[in-house]
Symmetry: C2
Subunit: 334 residues, 2 copies
């Protein structure tokens, strides 16, 4: 296990210590060492944005805490949900009196712990409403969309929710925009090599060299097929062919494209893949309004790539265009 760590049991806490020291201009610690907040949160009268989940997906989730993005984050163990108290502490850290939008991914542990945390917050008169991301198309058929997992599309949900809160929308307005963002987003991943959780010491699933797992989840959840390793162009076509009909995205649509490496995928390869995705979308008359290509939502050192598409309308465009600043998704100046 070729890893730069000290103790497999303390990787998350040590990582958080490093994150806090590295970004004092953006992040502040809270009384709960597993909860970090935007240094200017809570902002009085502004809806607070909270997320959380298992660690191991850096820069998600903590990397999306920042200006006009997420206000507080709950950080669980590697690939494990944060307990309810941690979500609750994040609600308290983010609440500026206008309520909290908890925007998170559809996993059993997170659903249970967020629900319990909301009950705890009710006792403090903190109003919390939720949007549950379910953008991962291969994880369930379309008629069971509510059971699909949340993956890299969550980043676009946070971007939209954070921008809407910054514009002064009330809690229902923020929730409606974030819900629209994820309803308009579809994602899919392909895995080429697994990752190893330090405490386990060996990969907890296998991808044979020469093959790829199509539709893999970002915790290594099985995909829809194991196939011979394809070219970037074939992968792009296969993923676009699954994602586009599902919403559907149609000729004339404008979209955000988010390509994320899963950890060890060179950025060089991500741009080659993105180039092929653009060709596939262009051939279908779908226009790219904004692109993100990079390691936005990873799984330790897993090798692979995910594609997320979000269909835009004027409201979503305005949110995507808004200035934001966080380690994971700083907006480029015009």
């Amino acid at each position: 296990m070729q890893k730069i760590i000290n103790n497999p049991q303390t990787v998350v806490d040590e990582m958080i210590e490093g994150v806090v020291k590295a970004m004092p201009e953006t992040l502040s610690p809270t009384k709960n060492k597993r909860v970090l907040k935007y240094k200017n949160a809570p902002q009085k009268g502004r809806v607070g944005i909270v997320t959380g989940g298992g660690s191991g997906h850096k820069p998600a989730f903590v990397g999306y805490v920042g200006k006009n993005m997420v206000d507080a984050v709950a950080m669980g163990e590697l690939f494990s949900s944060p307990p309810a108290k941690m979500f609750y502490d994040a609600f308290v850290a983010a609440d500026g009196g206008a309520g909290v939008a908890c925007l998170y991914g559809n996993y059993a542990g997170d659903n249970m712990n967020v629900k319990m945390a909301i009950e705890m917050a009710e006792d403090d008169d903190i109003v919390v409403k939720t949007v549950v991301a379910n953008d991962d198309v291969p994880s369930a058929p379309k008629d069971k969309r509510e059971t699909r997992r949340g993956v890299a599309g969550e980043i676009l949900m946070w971007k939209v929710g954070g921008a809407k809160a910054a514009m002064g929308a009330d809690l229902d307005g923020v929730i409606a925009a974030a819900q629209k963002a994820i309803d308009n987003t579809r994602s899919m991943g392909v895995g080429l090599a697994p990752c190893t959780i330090p405490e386990v010491g060996h990969p907890n699933f296998t991808i044979e060299p020469g093959t790829m797992e199509v539709g893999i989840g970002h915790h290594g959840e099985p995909g829809i097929a194991v196939k011979p390793l394809a070219t970037a162009k074939e992968m792009a076509k296969e993923m676009v062919d699954v994602i586009v009909p599902d919403l559907p995205f149609v000729n004339g649509d404008e979209v955000v494209v988010l390509v994320s490496g899963l950890g060890s995928t060179p950025l060089l390869e991500q741009y080659i893949f993105f180039n092929n995705v653009e060709e596939e979308l262009s051939a279908r008359g779908i226009k790219i309004y904004k692109s993100y290509v990079g390691n936005y939502f990873t799984s330790l050192e897993m090798n692979g790539i995910t594609l997320s598409l979000m269909k835009l309308d004027d409201e979503l465009k305005e949110c995507i265009d808004m200035e934001c600043g966080c380690m994971g998704l700083t907006q480029l100046p015009k």
Copy 2:
């Protein structure tokens, strides 16, 4: 070879096509398809900043083209210098009449090609001056510092040079600041696993599991020792112990810390390592003014990490603080 590519012979050109499509708000193509420029370059009366080098180090070099950063970049084959004509075309793309600062790394091919390109530019009355980065401490002893390689410290050189040009300094002023930046910077890397060039199809060097190569270059150049794999804390101490005495950095200094993964190193591990670096610097009375932690200068999917430190004065602080915007190093808003 688990790679997301189409044709090993065309990875660089396809990557560039993807980069151009992904960032129209920042980058523009030029007549030379291996030269990209900042969309607002050349800027009349402002010194142009040029760099270039072999591809495979994404986001370097093209990722540092942008606002108040690099104006034009020459992109060679994987780990190979761009030919002289490419550097020349980058000079032309960046020249706004105030001359060009070519800020690049100390490799034989780059030295030769930049020199030839400068001769070509002289015929066009384009004045080009250079700074040659040599921040990699383990690559040569201190009394042969001029022979050391340039590595991730180059990013800080570009940041300082770009900021100084944006402030309106003339060519000599930009060159002096960029030279000071690299003179004040020391770097070192540790490798845990090699990378594979697609055209070669297998790793061109070996790092045995359970070992690490201390002082490795980012093309896999041999380091100063192969040792048993250490903890993050031991690695941080070893690297600080090599870097700090070399300048030397002393008690009371303020520094920029730049930690870069080499490609497949999880961000989680990079923050753990950074946490230990901060402890080592703090114990020596060295204060961190600004930190960068991420995949800033990679070598395809190499596993490993580099540490760069830059000693600051007021001029360098002003340059580091200046707003900038490029894919590789967007400044976080205050």
